[in-house]
């Protein structure tokens, strides 16, 4: 699914008519792509889309399927919204975005129902609830609605990947500790006593709390290291934004 959605890297000539976009072309494509993965990770840094992050990550398989579905919806809506960004009247843009997102979610819902019925059942209402995932609407409003198609899709791919990574971290921790398995394969043998609490709701809150603690500890340690080698790409991105 991801292969057919990801476009070739944007070419300067492709947006020749777009004066504003041409000036912004100073931003290398990899900055758009990479920022969502770590530096502006939608879940771990921006704290958006927490409902699915906590609700469906009790096993790795669920997390992966949810991540792929959200990725598809995010990239598809960004593609459509940025294509029509000049035709969508400003007053009804949010409603239009939601309509576009809901269409893609409906597609994803039917696809999952047909392809992985077992996991679709386990995910419950959370597939349909991708519609109200703030990450997706947030990216349309903050990025796809005002940037050319190539950059918007790159941004969506990066953010989608960031969301998947966050789900995968949560899912792995919770499944390994909570069931002693990874993707259903037993890791520690029959003598392991699973921490059942980790796959139950409280485990979701505790796991995310520990992940956030780790990140804030890591960031706190970071400035000293970062000062020595300030990445130049970030400075460029800041100026463009």
């Amino acid at each position: 699914m991801s292969q057919e959605m990801s476009p070739p890297p944007p070419h300067p000539a492709a947006h020749g008519a777009d004066g504003l976009a041409e000036r912004r072309r100073a931003v290398p494509p990899n900055v758009d792509l990479v920022k969502g993965v770590w530096r502006e990770n939608p879940v771990l840094i921006q704290l958006l889309g927490l409902c699915p992050t906590l609700a469906v990550t009790n096993s790795v398989a669920n997390s992966v399927v949810m991540g792929i579905a959200t990725f598809f919806v995010l990239v598809g809506s960004s593609l459509l919204v940025s294509t029509f960004r000049r035709r969508i009247p400003n007053e009804v843009r949010i409603a239009t975005y939601i309509l576009i997102i809901a269409t893609f979610v409906t597609i994803a819902e039917f696809a999952l129902q047909a392809l992985v019925p077992g996991i679709y059942k386990a995910l419950g209402p959370f597939v349909a609830l991708i519609v109200v995932n703030c990450i997706i609407l947030g990216r349309q409003e903050a990025f796809a609605g005002r940037n050319p198609v190539g950059r918007s899709v790159l941004d969506a791919v990066g953010m989608g990947a960031g969301f998947m990574i966050a789900l995968l971290i949560m899912g792995s921790v919770r499944e390994i500790l909570g069931s002693g398995t990874f993707l259903g394969v037993s890791l520690f043998g029959p003598r392991y006593e699973p921490w059942v609490i980790m796959v139950l709701p409280p485990g979701g809150f505790f796991t995310l709390a520990f992940v956030l603690l780790t990140i804030s500890w890591w960031k706190r340690r970071q400035p000293a290291l970062a000062k020595a080698a300030e990445p130049r790409g970030l400075v460029v991105a800041e100026r463009a934004a």
């Binding site: 409902c51 809901a102 349909a128 519609v131 609490i197 139950l200 409280p202 709390a209 603690l213 804030s216």
Partner: protein, 192 residues
């Protein structure tokens, strides 16, 4: 009558939307700083939930049986416009209520609890009465979780928390403990 009571308690405590099903976490983490705002947010949520339940029942009974694939799109449009209308009506009828709920109403459109209620209600084939009780119960559950969280956060404000854990991580630890406590209610379901 018995099943109405059961639906009410099940949606309020046993399957609490926020603490057990992870729905409506944004307001839970965002506006749970003060008890008063938490109460108002809970009230606004309950109100919108009840209206949604009514609208969804009408949609399901009269319209969507002809076009089930439009379910999701129809729900989200109806919820968004409903919130808008409710906001306008309240503004016209009661300035005091509008001031109390005002800023929270638009936020509620993107609250996943509302859409989830619509989906649950459809999947479980609730009648009108069951749907309304379910809406009041889940709204009460949301308000309960918000108020509990706010009162804990108000007391924790004075505590000496390590700098690393301040902010969202601390709120999540509290939420986890609350969730742990609410798991105790699970016994009500099997015995009742």
């Amino acid at each position: 009558m018995g099943d109405l009571v059961w639906i009410f308690f099940s949606s309020m405590v046993v399957n609490n939307f926020t603490l057990m099903l992870f729905l409506g976490l944004c307001p839970f983490l965002g506006v749970s700083g003060k008890i008063e705002t938490a109460l108002r947010m809970g009230a606004a949520n309950t109100f919108v939930l009840v209206m949604t339940s009514l609208a969804v029942w009408v949609l399901n009974t009269f319209i969507l049986s002809h076009a089930p694939y439009l379910r999701l799109i129809a729900f989200i449009i109806v919820i968004a416009s409903l919130v808008q209308i409710v906001e306008m009506v309240i503004k016209k009828l009661s300035r005091a209520l509008f001031r109390a709920l005002g800023i929270y109403l638009p936020l509620i459109t993107t609250n996943c609890a509302i859409l989830a209620l619509a989906i649950f209600q459809t999947n479980r084939d609730y009648t009108l009465a069951q749907g309304l009780v379910f809406a009041v119960g889940s709204g009460g559950g949301l308000a309960l979780a918000l108020v509990l969280m706010a009162s804990i956060r108000e007391s924790v404000e004075l505590a000496d928390v390590p700098a690393l854990a301040q902010g969202t991580a601390l709120v999540l630890f509290i939420a986890g403990s609350l969730s742990l406590a609410f798991m105790g209610f699970a016994g009500l379901l099997s015995s009742g």
